[in-house]
Every structure is written in C-alpha cells, then in structure tokens.
Amino acid sequence: MYYADLLKLCGWERDQIKREASRLDEAFGILGLGPEEMKTADGRVRDGYDIDLMGVRKALGVWIGGLVDVVLSKKEGKKIVYYSFPPLGGLGGRISAIGKGEILCVCPEFILDIALGAIFDRIDPIMETGEDKALPHGAALCAMNKIRVGAIEKGIIPVPDLLLASSFYCDQGGQTDEWLREVYGIPWVVLDNVMDSAWDEFPTLNPERLSYMAAEIENAWTEAAEILGQKPDEEDWGEYAELYSRFVAGIAETNSAMRADPPPVSQSNLQLVRFLRNATSYDRFPDALEAIERLVPELEERVKSGKGPLPKGSPRVTSFLIPQRDHAVAHLIEQAGIAIPVTFLSYDAYTGMLDPTYATVAEKSARTELSRGLYHSTAAILYWTRKAVEDFDLDGVLWSQPIHCRPMASSGFILKKAIEEEFGIPVLILEVDWYDNRVISGETMRTKIETFGHLLAAKKARGETRHRS
C-alpha cells in the first residue's frame, strides 16, 4: 500500500486504511495518484501544515477521504448532488441529512482544490480542461468553476444527478452550473436572492429580502427533495444539525484560542479544518467533527504554554482568507513576522445577531447567511472587518483581494480607505488568486509582504496604536 505512510501522516488509523484499501486503490487509480504523487504530497503536507497538531492531520485525512468518496460515488450507487462554491442556505447539510449516506451531497471543487491541489499539487490539468471547455483563460475567471467543469469533463468525478445552483451571489458560478446543465442535461435547483441593500443598512436585515431568501431556500429544498425522491424530514435534519452545531462550537473555540498572543497556530491550518463543514459528505462529517474536537484542546494547550508559530508581540492583522493552494503565501506572511489571528471567513461574531426564535429552518438559514455579511453586501464585509480589528486587537489588515472573484471585487479598495481613515492602521491589498497559482504565485508577493511586515513592526515599536476616529 504505497499510500499508507501518507494517510498515516494525515491522521488515518491503520484499521481504517485496511478497511478502505480497495476503495483507495480504485480511486487513486482513477486519479492517477501513484507512489511518486504520494511522495510529493508527503513533502507538501510537511511543508504546508502544522503536523504536530493531530487535529490538523485528521483534517487533511478527511479531505483525502472526501476525494475518494466523490470519485467513487457513482460506482458505489449513490445519488450525487453538487452544490457550487460558495455554498448557500445550509442546503448541502439538509440534503445530506435526508439522504443518510445514500446521497453524496458535496461541493466537489472545494474537495478537489484542497485534496488534489493543496495536498497533491495535481490540479492544473483539471483547471486547463475547464478553461478549454467553458471558462476561458485570461478572463480572470474563478478556478473553482474551472475545476468543477474540468473534473467532470475529464471523468475524474461523476456527472451528478442534481446541481444546487446560486443565481445571485456569483454570476460565474450560476453560469457555470447552467453550462453543465445544458451540456450534460443535469437537473438543477436554483436559489435566488438580491443584494440591493443601502450602504448603511447592515446590521439591520431588510425584511423583504430576508423573506425572499427564506422562501427561495425552502423552495430549493422542496424541489431538491422531490427530484431526489426523498421526503423532507425535519427529524433527520435535527440530528444532522446537532452534529453541525458541535462543529460550529468547535470553530468558536478555535477563534477564542486565536485571540491569544501569540496565536497558537497559523491561520492556514485553521482554514483547512474550518472549511470541512462546507464540503464534507454525510459519511465523513463525524471525522470532520473529530478533527476539530481534537484540535481545540491542542490549541488550548499551546495557548497555556504561550506557544505559537510567531513570537509574542508580533503584529496582528486580518484578511479575507489565505490562499490555500499555494503554501508560499502563508509562509511569506509568517516569515514577515505577521500573525493572522482572524479572517473574515473565520470570524463568527454574527452568531450574536441571530434571533433564537425563528419560524422555519429556511428562515433561520436565510438570517444566518445574511448576517454573516458575505451574501449581504460589501458594507457588511466592512462592518465585520471593523469589528474584527477591535475584537482581535489588530495592527493592520492584509486583504487578499481576489482577481477572479467579482462579488468580492470592490471590497479591498473600499476597506482600505475606510479602515485606514477610521483606525489609522495600514491596510495592504494583496492581489491574489485564492485557488490558482499559475496566475499569481506567492513568491511574486514577497516584496509587498516583507515591506508590510517591516511597516507594521516599526509602527508597533514606535507605540503607534490603533485609534477610532
């Protein structure tokens, strides 16, 4: 078993490897992952992640397991549902819950990007196929969509039985789903909303928009259940929701740990764990839960002993997310002495806004999605970034501004002006591609990141602190 060492490194137990050996053989065969690729992955895992933490290793293992699950899903007789990135409305979880393991409902590009991209570094040919077929190179289009198209076209992942599409947050995502629908004749369910808020509306949620989104979630849910021949069952959802709540509680605990100085772990590791909730199948979700529940005490232990990848007193910043495919970006930030205790996607302060009384699951989902800010407005992203600056005692913002993501396009410019004026702290906009390092690689950012690190350190040394104007 040429893959056993890698899997052990990624938190798999000996028994589990033995139990899943035939599946692993088959899936790795389809993916073209042989001994050489295992060697590459071993190096990338050791180089890119904090493997002293079993929670992180377990998370890596869940991503690899998820890859195997999606590759084999059709052969194993599952009904397959793909939702596009970013996921919306808790629909993936609800469909997983009603299917109870008979339905594989995942965001395949996310699994492929992390497992085949970040771990094995074998994603480029898939993106290139996506470019040839649907999303042309050179038009600043999202690698996630390219991966979805490319992986289906290459036969690496099966054609699904249903697509869950969003029509409002990302034009590209919806259009890509429509492309797949037309080319492969895949049924789809579309979830709509509008992002038409006035600049000063957030954190208030407009009731018409909330109702519209809730009705769309409910409708998508009902339509999907009908297409899949399942009966919506709130009890099944309740069981799954309980597991999910434990996962979310784990995320909150990791955030608490990250408030420490120094933060106990590099943010890119946390991202790896946190994103499991968005892309893990029903069968793998208990493993995802185990990963985060192993990680929390490990981080608390580090906090107690004052350990972290950077020394105490290092400048602290926030970002949107850390590019996950290219480990060099996270390394450069750390080498520049900059700690990232929080990112926009990790900061879950919105949960404080949620009204515990709600009429339906759909309304709760809509309220959650809108309160998080991402699906609300740029103003809401700014709102939570301001909060993070204060809550996490930050010295600056290092905003990863994606060139491929239209919904996020205005965030960097607006945030820079607003945060610098309000708090007097520096904001660096780093133009990146979160998922594709063929376009902008980490090394091209070295000068910017190092200079920014020097600037932050100098300001801190001079005692120039944040203010609120």
Partner: protein, 389 residues
C-alpha cells in the same frame, strides 16, 4: 455623417443631431425651473414611466467607449469589473459629461455583481445620491413580487424628491407615451427585416441611444418623422452580409464595432444589448393597476439577460431573431469581466451553429484604443468569410 442606405436626403437624422446637441442646455434650463433629473443605469429594468409620472426627467446614463474614464476608475475600483461599469465611475469623477453632472439622483437596479459593485462605489465614495433596488434572477411569482416591491419603493423615492404624486392617471399617461415610442422603434426595426435596407445599423443605434437622453415627446416626433421619410423613400437592396450584433452593453460613444462592420461591407440589421431592444420589444399593458403592469412588462415579460437563471431564453430569442432578420452571422460583443456573457459566449456559437448553421464572432473589449487593429482584422476576416460562403 450618416451612413445612408438610400439616395436622397434624410432630414430627420439631421434634426436628431441638433436635438442631441441642445439637450444638455435644455436640461439645465428645466433643472433651473425646478424639475428633477433622474439618471439611471441602463439595462431595461428602470421604468421611465415612474419618473415621467412624477414630472421628473429620465436620463439613461450609458456613455462609454473611451479609455480615459476606465483608467480614472482605477483609483476607485479594481480592474476586474465590467468595463462599462468602471467607465461610469470614471465619467462621474471626470465631470465632462453633462448627463452625469446634472442628475439629482442615480437609480441603480441591482442586477449582477458588476452593477452591485458600481452601486457600492457610487455610494461609498459619495459620488451622488443613489437609489438601489433589486432585480431577482428568476422568473417566478415571488421574484415578480420582489421586483414590484422595488419599483414601488422607487416610486416613493421619486415622489419624495419631486413632491409630485405618480397617480394612476399620470402613470397611465406615461405608459401611453412610452408605448408609442416602443411601437415606433419596433416599426423601424421591423423594416430592417427587408433585404432592401432603409436605415443603417449605426443610425438605428444612434436613435436608441438618443431615446435615453432626449425628451420623450421630441423623440416620438423624431421617430414618427423618420417613419414617414423611410416609407416615402426608394431604397436600394443591401448587398453586404447581414449581422446580428449582440452582447452585454453597447454604450453611447462605443461605435467601434459597428463602424468596423460597416467599413468591412457588412450591415448590422438587428442588435440585442442591455440598452436596446429589451426596452422596446414589449408594450406595457394599459388595463389594470399600472405599477403591476410595469412590473409585469419590465420584469416578467422582459427578454432575459445572461445573468438570469436560466438564461436560455435569451439565446433562444437570439436564434429567433437570426431567422426573422435573415441574418448571415452574429457578432457577440462582450465587455471584459462581464462573466455571465463571457461564459455564455463559449456555449452560444455551437448552439447557434447547430440551430441555424450561422457563424459567430466573439469579441471582448476593455475600451482600449489598442484593440482597434486586432478588431479590424477579425471583423474584416469574418465578413469576408461570410461573403465567401
């Protein structure tokens, strides 16, 4: 110089030039008299009738095609936004276009990511008062209700601004007026179904753009006069390939594609863009509640753009147009980073080819002068290929 397709004078188009030239001064005068001027993002989702019923003046902000505003916008937005949307920020900041300076309010129907971001920037950088309302992306009863809610809020806003109530009677008068304009546009457009061309594509597009800027009654007089002239003229058969020009946005000032087509010997005989055909293809019903009728027409019956889900209706409509207007080829003119159109452009040529056998040329622009050379080569080649087939 108009690209005349017949022998003889066309006085109406000369008078159009004069009206266009004088319009900024007229608007300034009307503003001084207390009239409110409402600028809006073109794309077919802002009912001008609501603005007219409040005794305000609608002005479609659809200038574009120049590179300088795009460059200026770079201080406010990253490059990765639709070229036309970036242009709007640049034009507002530069201050050289009267339409952008004179408006008391900018109305932005939030359609796709690009328009949302344009709205964000307009609001955050305080470029002027803005009113946004959402346009859902699916044709459902629920979506129609949401759109209706949005245009009702727009009505409230303009009523507040003008102090003038948009009563049912006034709304119906405005609908009647706008329907007349639509009817005339359809009439002229349908004349272009004939092989004997009576109006160049360039002139037709000028009329469409003018309709977003001129007084509605004046525009109707121009169109009526043009119809009379066209009906009385002896036209000569057009010889060049007949082109359907489509894409995301064809701005007032962005004439390069149509010029290149005509210079290469082609004729654009029908066009489908955000600020063109979508506005005139369908009338608003005059029976029943006028706000409901506006929502029904502007949202539910509107030909869908590429960002609708599904957007197949738009492609099917283009194929239908290709048949009705005896098209020889389609030019798909896309602005950079308008993703829905970019992705759809990868699928459309095959669908069109399978359905009709017609070729498609996809061209993408960032309003850069350096594009002209490559565009000329591609368009000339495309026209030549059609001629030779």
């Amino acid at each position: 110089m108009h690209n005349r397709m017949w022998d003889g004078e066309m006085k109406t188009l000369d008078s159009l030039d004069i009206h266009l030239k004088n319009r900024a001064g007229e608007l300034e005068g009307l503003k001084a008299e207390g009239h409110k001027i409402i600028g809006y993002y073109p794309g077919g989702y802002v009912p001008e009738e609501i603005i007219l019923a409040c005794d305000a003046l609608p002005v479609g902000l659809n200038r574009g095609g120049e590179h300088e505003p795009v460059l200026i916008a770079g201080a406010y937005l990253p490059r990765w936004i639709d070229t036309f949307c970036r242009s709007q920020i640049g034009l507002k900041v530069l201050g050289g276009e009267p339409a952008y300076n004179i408006a008391d309010l900018f109305v932005a129907p939030v359609t796709d990511n690009n328009v949302r971001i344009l709205g964000d920037a307009w609001e955050f950088y305080r470029l002027g008062e803005i009113f946004k309302f959402g346009v859902p992306h699916r044709k459902t009863e629920r979506a129609l209700k949401y759109y209706l809610h949005g245009i009702n809020a727009l009505k409230d806003k303009i009523e507040d601004l003008t102090g003038q109530k948009a009563t049912e009677e006034r709304l119906n008068e405005a609908i009647h007026l706008c329907n007349r304009e639509r009817e005339l546009f359809r009439k002229i457009s349908f004349m272009r179904k004939s092989r004997a061309l009576s109006l160049s594509g360039k002139d037709y597009i000028r009329l469409l753009h003018a309709s977003l800027w001129l007084d509605k009654s004046v525009m109707i007089e121009i169109l009526e006069s043009l119809v009379r002239e066209m009906e009385g003229m002896e036209v000569r058969p057009g010889t060049g390939p007949r082109i359907l020009l489509t894409g995301s946005t064809l701005a007032y000032g962005d004439g390069k594609i149509i010029n290149l087509v005509e210079e290469a010997g082609g004729n654009v005989v029908i066009e489908h863009f955000a600020e063109g055909l979508r506005n005139y293809w369908d009338d608003v019903a005059l029976d029943g509640n006028p706000m409901n009728a506006l929502a029904e027409s502007y949202f539910h019956r509107r030909i869908t753009p590429a960002w609708f889900r599904p957007s197949r209706e738009m492609r099917d409509f283009l194929i239908k147009l290709a048949g009705e207007f005896s098209i020889d080829g389609v030019i798909w003119y896309n602005l950079m980073y308008r993703d829905s159109y970019t992705v759809q452009a990868t699928l459309f040529p095959k669908i069109l080819k399978d359905a009709t056998g017609l070729p498609t040329l996809v061209i993408e622009s960032d309003y850069d002068v350096e594009e002209m050379g490559p565009f000329r080569t591609r368009i000339e080649t495309f026209i030549e290929i059609i001629k030779g087939s």
